[in-house]
């Protein structure tokens, strides 16, 4: 600590004299310091706290190589959305839909549920996403199979209300205006080849339940 204080004090003195140089990690060049601050800020996306400054601590292996040398330089807190494993979906579909789609029990292999004693990070692919939609549609069909709201075809108003409710419940967050309108447009315009209103609603519900906001954690 004493060394650091001395270094900072020296840097201030040198800075006052117009000296340009590095003193034990303290940078007294205002232009460079501003650039570093801007660079650091750029690595922190809006809405995330800057946890996050690279530290001065190093970890050396037996061969003197920096163990952290392979770290990726990327914004802190990003690349966080992981695909939910099958074991989590088993509980999450019933939690959001209020019923357990029967298809779910048959989909362990589709979602690459690992065998005994094994683990693997779940990856999404075309088959798993399509299967997720099928599962969601089955559960949504049960959900929309009763209730007066779903007896009539979606209108702009009813779709906006239902989309807002589903997105909020399925995604655990308040949806953005654009997300609601996209969903409502799908309900009113993208399901019109279906003549059964309850199935129209089920398609809409399934779309919300197949979004990344639900399938990731």
């Amino acid at each position: 600590m004493r060394t650091r204080i001395a270094a900072v004090a020296l840097a201030i003195l040198l800075g006052g004299a117009g000296c340009d140089g590095m003193i034990q990690g303290a940078d007294n060049n205002p232009t460079r310091t501003a650039k570093k601050a801007a660079s650091k800020a750029a690595l922190t996306p809006p809405g995330l706290d800057p946890v996050v400054a690279p530290t001065e601590r190093t970890y050396l292996g037996f061969d003197g190589v920096d163990l952290a040398a392979s770290r990726v330089v990327a914004p802190a807190g990003t690349d966080r959305d992981r695909i939910k494993p099958y074991s989590a979906l088993m509980g999450d579909y019933p939690r959001i839909l209020g019923n357990a789609p029967g298809l779910l029990d048959t989909m362990a292999a589709t979602f690459a549920d690992p065998g005994p004693r094994w683990y693997q990070e779940t990856k999404a692919n075309a088959v798993s996403v399509y299967s997720a939609y099928r599962i969601a549609f089955e559960g949504c069909l049960t959900l929309t199979g009763s209730g007066a709201t779903y007896a009539a075809a979606p209108t702009a108003a009813s779709a906006t209300a239902a989309c807002t409710a589903w997105q909020t419940a399925f995604w655990s967050r308040v949806p953005a205006t654009g997300e609601v309108s996209t969903c409502a447009n799908f309900a009113t315009q993208g399901t019109t080849t279906e003549t059964n209103p309850r199935r129209q609603w089920a398609y809409t519900c399934a779309a919300v339940a197949t979004a990344g906001q639900f399938l990731t954690f």
């Binding site: 946890v51 037996f62 967050r173």
Partner: protein, 309 residues
């Protein structure tokens, strides 16, 4: 009082702060992230309704589902594929015991244990106390799995696996052309000696202090090493007489706690830490070094507010 009034009172900062934190779903999203990351399951209604899901982390860390998920994660990290012989997945069985009994993480590698095949009546492999144990490294099923095929019986693969499991050392084996001398003499050629003799992690030197394989598969026996080859100096100046010396040196190094927290990030984030997350990583290392349990490392990582952002 609405935001315009706040502005009128020149209290801009509190108003913005309020706007940024008014996210009614943040707690339930955090609950989901915690539950799936630790347990692999949908959150319980109790966790889902908690206003501070992170306050439940201690409960998650003693949940049998966490023991199972983390043991699987370790097994899949320490091995390239699941074994068809359950007791050869020794890291899986012993990790569960370490977690269940709240033991220090280093016990996985140097604790007085042994992983045996199921008893005659069947069931699961058995983790038994063994004063001569060295984590799972002296368990016969594991030794057989990683005995390798070196012509003279030197257990190069075992040497590598011990270092890989404890400190995360990663070496890439070279592909030999047919007919190339793969004996100890051949491995002294420049293209091989880098890993086998010259490196601080010299596989051949380390293998000289390990038991020597004789036979293969179920007919394998392990003979004591040649006394004339002991000790060896590796790891940048560490003198080792046997596998225990090697493991103790690895565990005593900064590489061990680095590995523990790297595992923590991989388990909880699905990726290694970024340069910009170094402060979270450093806090993890401090927590792990102070406590010794892998649970402390994991708790440190999720305790940072960034985990649920």
């Amino acid at each position: 009082m609405d935001c315009r009034q706040w502005f009128a009172l020149a209290l801009l900062a509190p108003c913005l702060s309020l706007a940024q934190t008014s996210d009614p779903g943040s707690a339930s999203r955090c609950a989901t992230r915690l539950s799936v990351a630790f347990l692999g399951t949908s959150p319980t209604s109790t966790l889902m309704q908690s206003v501070d899901p992170k306050s439940q982390v201690d409960s998650l860390l003693v949940d049998p589902a966490f023991y199972e998920r983390f043991a699987r994660f370790i097994n899949a990290t320490f091995n390239s594929a699941p074994s068809s012989i359950p007791e050869q997945d020794a890291a899986y069985w012993l990790t569960k015991v370490i977690l269940t009994n709240d033991r220090p993480w280093k016990d996985l590698f140097e604790g007085p244990y042994r992983v045996d095949p199921p008893n005659a009546s069947g069931g699961d492999p058995q983790v038994v106390s063994d004063s001569n144990g060295l984590g799972y490294f002296r368990s016969t099923p594991w030794q057989i799995e990683y005995e390798g095929n070196e012509p003279a019986g030197y257990k190069l693969r075992t040497a590598y696996r011990i270092m890989n499991n404890t400190i995360g050392l990663h070496l890439i084996p070279a592909t030999n052309a047919p007919g190339v001398d793969i004996s100890a003499t051949g491995r002294q050629q420049p293209q091989c000696a880098g890993c086998h003799y010259d490196s601080v992690y010299a596989l051949d030197k380390i293998a000289r202090v390990l038991t020597v394989r004789q036979g293969t598969g179920s007919n394998t026996t392990f003979l004591p090493p040649d006394p004339a080859q002991i000790p060896q100096t590796v790891l940048g100046g560490v003198v080792i007489h046997d596998d225990a010396d090697l493991v103790h040196a690895l565990i005593a190094s900064p590489s061990f706690s680095f590995r523990a927290c790297r595992l923590g990030f991989l388990f909880l984030y699905g990726r290694a830490e970024y340069t910009t997350e170094a402060s979270v990583f450093d806090a993890c290392v401090d927590a792990f070094n102070a406590d010794g349990r892998i649970q402390a490392a994991l708790k440190s990582i999720v305790s940072n507010k960034s985990f649920c952002q």
